[in-house]
Assembly symmetry: C2
Homo-oligomer: 215 residues x 2
DNA sequence: CCAATAATTATACGAATGTATAATTAAAAT
DNA sequence: ATTTTAATTATACATTCGTATAATTATTGG
């Protein structure tokens, strides 16, 4: 007897692409880019491996698409959190910090994905520029928020000084993000944004902690 | 004609092991753990691949040895830098921060290795505990240094508050370390330790920047 | 109901990988 | 010198990987 052929349903191309991208991301977070094989990915997406090549010209093509998708998701969470606050500049800065130090931005998955992509990034110049753009964009955004908060507080600083402060605050966020994702059980709920707000507040000499419960 | 057999020299086992570990580390930094094949590693160490299995029971065995070796190297650099300072507690803290934010601790290689091992770490419980020990050890060390510096400054804080400050300062170091290694051209020479000392100084309310040129 | 289309499965293939084992050679011991 | 030992090379093997291509099936339009 011949094994019966597997039943399947047609799905809209965008839907299938997204399924494949999400399956890829979850596996990349678990096992790295090389460890996430096309067979693994197709199995998790509940399709056969041939379908990947139908939607993506190669594995690398899928990886790059997954990277872009993930990055867009992460930045959207933080950026919209700040812009939706209809209050003072200090409140928007606090909301931005808060969102950057809360799930889903802070999570083992996000850190694992970052690490996995960094490895690949060194070999793919295409992904590398996207990465650097994302970083610069994030810091520029933070710089604008800090600048507005300082101006609001009547504190005038030079452009160089502002860049300096943004870099330092960015480092605090990155460091806490890293630790929160790499050692999730080492922090109580709410501890991470609390430390972040207080530390950044110390660095720019503005109290941010009371500004956070406005949303 | 038969191809002539390759000439070779006997080397002390420890020497060969170290060669293999260093070849492995350089390749892991470039291509990740999975990307660093035993053939690659043996080629870079200028031996044939069979030799790896003569010194290590498996590839994973070599990877774990390389990880331990690397971690020991990194922590030694920072710990000795602080303990060798024969001055005030504040100076020792400043030296510790300085060393943590200077090559070879801050380097693309170190960040790449960290990312590469993190991916593997999620699957190997053995490596995972080593990782968590290293982190806890580092933060405890920093906590002691901060505690001593605060005491020296006549500032008394609770144990919980001290832990809180250590976590925040650790985050600053981690974040700057990350950015300095991931985007080396984004920072001028000496900028990273400068930002670190100033930011940590702001957080614990002690000026560290004048304390660094004593060595 | 039938033809056309493309979405999906199924199978195959060469290259690369980790591992295992046998063959050789350099160095040390006697 | 000769034997012994272990360090090193060489070769082989099963498996897995990405990719390519052919075969089928669901869906749509007439």
């Amino acid at each position: 007897m011949s094994a019966e052929r597997r039943k399947f349903k047609h799905e809209p191309p965008d839907r299938r692409k997204l399924d494949l991208i999400e399956a890829a991301l979850s596996l990349i977070a678990e096992k790295g880019v090389k460890g996430a094989t096309v067979r693994d990915i197709s199995r998790r997406a509940e399709v056969t491996q041939g379908l990947i090549r139908h939607y993506f010209s190669s594995k690398e093509d899928l990886i790059v698409a997954a990277y872009r998708y993930h990055m867009t998701q992460m930045t959207e969470v933080t950026y919209t959190s700040a812009s939706q606050i209809d209050g003072t500049a200090t409140e928007r800065l606090a909301a931005f910090v808060q969102a950057s130090l809360t799930p889903p931005v802070v999570s083992p998955r996000a850190v694992a994905l970052w690490a996995s992509f960094l490895v690949q990034l060194q070999q793919d110049a295409n992904v590398k520029t996207t990465h650097e753009q994302t970083y610069t964009e994030f810091r520029d955004h933070l710089e604008d928020l800090i600048g507005a908060a300082l101006k609001e507080a009547g504190c005038s600083v030079s452009q160089g000084r502002l860049r300096y402060l943004a870099t330092a605050c960015n480092a605090v966020i990155d460091g806490l993000w890293l630790e929160g994702g790499a050692l999730p059980h080492a922090f109580a709920a709410g501890e991470l944004p609390d430390i972040g707000l207080q530390s950044i507040g110390s660095i720019i000499a503005i109290d941010l902690r009371q500004k956070v419960d406005q949303a």
